[in-house]
């Protein structure tokens, strides 16, 4: 079983983070996560999969997101878990706002997250769901 837990950073872009607030798009969030999980199930052997994403106000070191994937094959568990994280970061409608000593600011999307998601080529036709 491979899993990933994302934690609230206590510093980001050089500033101390007092609290972080997660806004989301109710309805689309659930739909986007279900689609990402279905895509992972079509690509790898997955016995079970859990995705939990928190919303609202969080403090540094609190957990933001949990992705856990159980598989009979270690490599599949790791790949599916990382795939789901990469696509949550780029496809699921969540937005982070940080409270810092200089005031509140929206976190900028990162090019590195787009690059991480782009690494995953479309599935080969013979394995597509």
């Amino acid at each position: 079983m491979a899993s990933f837990v994302g934690l609230v950073r206590d510093r980001n872009d050089g500033a101390a983070v007092a609290t972080m607030t997660l806004e989301h798009y109710p309805g689309m969030t659930e739909k986007a996560i279900a689609r990402i999980v279905d895509e992972a199930r079509g690509r790898w052997q997955v016995i079970d999969c859990t995705v939990i994403h928190r919303i609202g106000e969080l403090s540094p070191a609190e957990q933001i997101v949990l992705v856990a994937v159980a598989s009979g094959h270690r490599g599949d568990a790791f790949a599916a878990c990382e795939f789901i994280m990469d696509f949550l970061k780029t496809q699921a409608p969540f937005w982070k706002k940080e409270a810092t000593p200089d005031g509140a600011r929206w976190v900028d999307a990162r090019a590195s997250d787009d690059a991480a998601a782009a690494r995953w080529a479309p599935p080969p036709n013979n394995r597509a769901a």
Binding site: L22, Y25, M28, L88, K89, Q91, P93, K97
Partner: protein
């Protein structure tokens, strides 16, 4: 044709509202058309929607391209690139 328009995150703050019903004028039938229609309101609307690279849209809760067609009753959302996870 009437659609429901939602705004999220920094975009919501810039335009000062989370949702509204918008009556589309004749000839406006795509996401790009709706965006141009809203920008034409001027002021914060123009500024908030100006940068296409920082703008994403969804139609009925699926990510949509600018050329995506709109139908009456659709839920159209505008928001900046996502930053969850």
């Amino acid at each position: 044709m009437k659609v429901r328009v939602l705004f999220f995150a920094s975009l919501r703050e810039q335009v000062g509202r989370a949702a509204e019903e918008v009556e589309l004028p004749a000839g406006v039938a795509t996401v790009a058309g709706l965006r141009a229609h809203l920008m034409a309101r001027g002021g914060a609307w123009g500024a908030a929607l100006a940068d296409g690279r920082r703008l994403r849209a969804a139609v009925n809760q699926d990510i949509a391209a600018p050329e995506a067609a709109l139908r009456t009753g659709d839920e159209v959302a505008f928001f900046p690139p996502v930053t969850g996870g």
